[in-house]
Amino acid sequence: MNLSALWETYSASILGGALLGLAAGLVLLLHGRVAGVSGMVGSLFEERTHESAWRALYLVGLVLGGFVLSFFDPGSVPRQTLPVWIMLIAGFTVGFGARLGGGCTSGHGLCGATLLNVKSIIATITFMAAGAAVVYLVRHVWSAS
């Protein structure tokens, strides 16, 4: 694969990834926290503090940002999804597990691991291993039988 083909394949991933780092970096520089999505969702259900409002508004930014982006970049909208009842079970488990685990891909993976937090690095390796094991089962064991 030559360089221009590599760029064609990965430019959107690099640009998008840089935006993730920029957003998380702004939260660190301005607000002094890691930009963990499940943590911010958790704060919705915790006692109100002087930080509750901005953390809720970050989540509003996620929802509205995705909505507006869908008009400019329809390819960002997921079209192939699982049946709703499976989505409900998966969603509950993702939310509950992320809080029990102290964070999700954004808080542990993007932020915590970069801050060289041992807890976050081990949590990230753990959820990636669990995810890889399930993908292996779904794609290579069940589908083959």
Binding site: I14, G101, T126, V134
Partner: protein
Amino acid sequence: MTRGLTAFLAGVIFAVGLGVARLTLPQTIQGGLDFFGAWDPRMFVSLFTGMAVFAIFRLLVARRTAPLLADRFRLPQPGWPTPRMLVGATLFGAAWGFSGICPGPSLVSALTSFPVAAFAVAMLIGVFAYERGLAKR
């Protein structure tokens, strides 16, 4: 006011990043986790790029005693994970691998895909169940 606006804008930037990188699509996530099949490196390319950019900000704040809009930094405590945390990370990872969706992307696509909206609502209920059931224990 300022804090609300900057947080909102950071959320929008994060949403655009997830969308542009196609991390909103379950196929991108599952392809990234499919180490023993048709592995798709794009998820890791995005993750490592994001980590590199975030690391620049980390260095930028290294000598600051406080962030610009708060009285002090509130960053994760160092230390080893508890067994409970690892159970949580395993549950989270399994459901993430099965669905190809994690909390951020579920909110980003909540207004554009009905099944993902269902996921997002269930995710909120899962977090609520934790906060009310286990958080203080």
